[in-house]
């Protein structure tokens, strides 16, 4: 068990290639754009990425420009895992057949699929389920900014309870989103993924180490990286990393690994902070502090975190 105040071990990352190029159209202070950079730093150049529709796809691939210095394919919103399955299967076929000597060996290529939480938790869920069930040698990375931020600021099934979005607005009869975030890591683990982890852009070394670790496993693997959206969550663009860090430190975003279906490592907290400290940094939760009854919602959020912390053994 490591903790927030113990530096995680240095990862064995040999490549510092600049494979996610600057000049993309992401907002200043974009959490997901940091995630893309860390992903390519960890996977290196021998990588083929299948990308779901979403903000990171749109900001990085406006024809005739591209931020990607690795092979990259985008098809539609719901099928990045399906497309990645096909790419991976093709390389497997090339290995097994004669006449494809010009292609890299399957084992030398990192097959990666990337989707936002909308693509992962909602519309692409069937595609991801199929990819995991079939055990394709693909690392799926969900960058989780807790909403459909490409189309504005709408709720997804990753949006936390109590957050105001344009489709789950706070109003006279509403405290914002009225459902709890879908537990995707558990769903991935239940599919038999050998390696499942959560990560945060506030802990890049940990995130990259998890990517490297995931890629050592054959078969499907799933990493979910918490990547705050300054626009959708409504905070100052200089605060992205601090907000992401607070998510971890309050237990809102626990960091853990599940290997072979067993919880194997949790970044435990010696002094878990109350969730208010996290909620008050963001406009999407502002109504909880100004509206009558908001304190009860905050309490409900805290209870949910406490239950989750108990299950994970988050507190030291």
């Amino acid at each position: 068990m490591s903790s927030q105040d113990t530096a995680p071990p240095e990862p064995e990352i040999s490549h510092d290639d600049d494979l996610f190029k600057p000049g993309h159209r992401a907002c200043a202070g974009c959490g997901p754009a940091l995630a893309m950079r860390y992903i390519t730093e960890a996977t290196g150049e021998n990588t083929i990425i299948s990308h779901a529709t979403g903000c990171m796809e749109v900001v990085s691939s406006p024809y005739p420009e591209s931020s990607w210095d690795v092979s990259w394919i985008h098809d539609v919103f719901a099928n990045a895992p399906g497309v990645a399955s096909g790419v991976e299967a093709a390389y497997r076929a090339f290995d097994e057949k004669e006449g494809f000597e010009e292609f890299e060996d399957h084992d030398d290529v990192n097959f990666v699929a990337i989707g936002g939480d909308g693509a992962t938790f909602d519309i692409g869920m069937r595609s991801l389920s199929g990819m995991m069930e079939r055990g394709h040698d693909v690392l799926y990375i969900a960058y989780d900014n807790e909403g459909y931020m490409n189309t504005g600021i709408q709720r997804s099934s990753s949006t936390p309870f109590g957050a105001s979005t344009t489709t789950s607005p706070a109003g006279s009869e509403s405290f914002g989103n009225d459902t709890q975030k879908k537990n995707m890591p558990a769903i991935a683990a239940d599919h038999g993924c050998e390696y499942v982890a959560t990560a945060s852009i506030a802990y890049p070394t940990d995130f990259k180490r998890k990517i490297e670790k995931a890629l050592e496993h054959d078969g499907a693997k799933y990493i979910q990286v918490s990547a705050p959206c300054m626009l959708g969550w409504d905070f100052d663009s200089a605060e992205t990393v601090n907000v992401a860090k607070l998510a971890v430190q309050t237990g809102m975003q626990p960091l853990f690994e599940i290997v072979d279906g067993e919880l194997s490592d949790v970044m435990s907290l010696s002094d878990r902070k109350p969730v208010e400290e996290y909620l008050e940094t963001q406009g999407r939760f502002a109504h909880l502090f100004s509206k009558e009854g908001g304190d009860e919602v905050i309490e409900e959020i805290q209870e949910h975190i406490d239950e989750q912390a108990e299950e994970l053994g988050l507190d030291r």
Partner: protein, 405 residues
């Protein structure tokens, strides 16, 4: 030359696919296509299919994985029908825009609702504007051969588009016919290894499926349109070389885009797609009137010039369609009218919507249509307005009151 054997259509198509040795087959079962993927599964289980067979979760991901594999440079295959084709529709539209060749066998079946598992062409026409090449087969042999021709055209680097090889559900998938299945060696001679422009190669990174803004999107759509128009010539070449190697001629006279049957100077032409054409040929043989049959082999690219030539001199055309665009008319009839507009030749065009969702089309049905055309020809040109008269198989007593009022 492959041996002639008695085979069910779905099995025969699977043998044709096997001969092309696709690198990735990805499919989900749906009636009446299922026999194709069942047979391919069996071939895979016995080690005859040397590629990867993905048993996916849905048609949506069958198409998606074919797109990924095609992007990687693989030869890919899938098969589907009806609702399954609809489920593939979203990714299929992108495959043409991304210029990725895929070959799909489509066992044509009506679309819900109401639910029906039987044949018509509603599913194929629902994909009409997706930028896919669409072949239609009259019999099992043509279904088998169209698979190979579809690969030839779809994978031609100058074309590089998805292709649907349509065959009528049940009528062709479940009928046993004597058929010659090409051997792997023969197919290898006809169909060289795919040589794609670009692949997802880690050593030479490419961005595929980039996001296009208004400055560029129009040109991508034009490029698909242009490739489809150019594919007419590629189809012609593919049909010609097929005839040279296998001895079967699929309308060489018409650039491989359509076939005709009957007297050249016929006054009446019957136009239809797929298996109905066999019945049309029989009726034309029997009918005292001078009737010829015109069978488009493709609906995309649309064989406009060939149709104009094949129909030159006819006084009237009976277009028999197993599809309708509700609120308008049979699409095949509407498109024929558009092809003839401005040509200076203005035959009466009689649209008949029939054979929907497995309703049998008998020789009597077709004969009646010819009789009506003969009468109408003498009475003056058709108004072209679609009405109940254009649905010859309609059972009026089964219609609800608000329809019959």
């Amino acid at each position: 030359m492959g041996e002639q054997t008695m085979l069910k259509g779905d099995r025969a198509v699977a043998h044709s696919v096997l001969s092309a040795q696709p690198d990735v087959v990805s499919a989900y079962p749906i009636t009446p296509q299922t026999g194709i993927v069942e047979k391919l599964s069996e071939m895979d289980a016995n080690g005859d299919l040397r590629g990867q067979f993905l048993k996916v979760d849905s048609e949506f991901n069958a198409a998606s994985s074919c797109i990924g594999a095609s992007g990687a440079g693989a030869r890919v295959f899938s098969a589907t029908s009806s609702q399954g084709l609809k489920l593939m529709s979203e990714p299929l539209f992108t495959a043409s825009g991304m210029r990725l060749p895929l070959v799909l066998a489509v066992a044509n079946r009506s679309l819900s609702g109401p639910l029906s598992i039987w044949n018509d062409h509603t599913d194929a026409f629902a994909e009409r504007d997706g930028g896919m090449i669409q072949f239609f087969a009259e019999d099992v042999q043509e279904a088998v051969d169209n698979i190979l021709m579809a690969y030839r055209v779809a994978e031609d680097p100058e074309i590089s588009l998805p292709a649907l090889a349509n065959l009528d559900g049940y009528i062709l998938t479940h009928v046993k016919e004597p058929v010659e299945v090409p051997t792997e060696e023969e197919t290898a001679e006809y169909l060289p290894k795919r040589d794609p422009h670009a692949t997802l190669d880690p050593k030479d990174p490419k961005t595929m499926g980039a996001f296009a803004r208004p400055e560029h999107w129009t040109e991508t759509r034009f490029a698909v349109h242009d490739a489809l128009l150019r594919s007419k010539e590629t189809i012609g070449d593919a049909v010609e070389e097929f005839a040279d190697q296998f001895g079967r001629d699929y309308g060489l006279e018409w650039g491989g885009l359509l076939e005709t049957y009957g007297p050249e100077d016929a006054e009446i032409a019957l136009l239809g797609l797929g298996s109905i054409v066999g019945t049309m040929r029989d009726v034309a043989d029997d009918h005292p009137a001078s009737v010829k049959v015109v069978k488009p082999r493709v609906i995309r690219p649309y064989p406009e010039e060939a149709l104009r030539e094949a129909l030159a001199g006819v006084e009237s055309v009976g277009v028999l369609t197993k599809e309708v665009s509700p609120g308008h008319q049979g699409t095949l009839a509407a498109e024929l009218k558009s092809a003839l507009y401005g040509s200076g030749h203005n035959p009466a065009i009689h649209s008949s919507v029939l054979g929907l969702a497995g309703r049998d089309v008998t020789k009597g049905d077709i004969s009646d249509i010819i009789d009506e055309i003969v009468d109408a020809t003498t009475a003056g040109p058709s108004t072209g307005v679609i009405s109940e008269e254009d649905w010859p198989q309609l059972k009026r007593d089964m219609l609800p009151d608000e329809v019959t009022h």
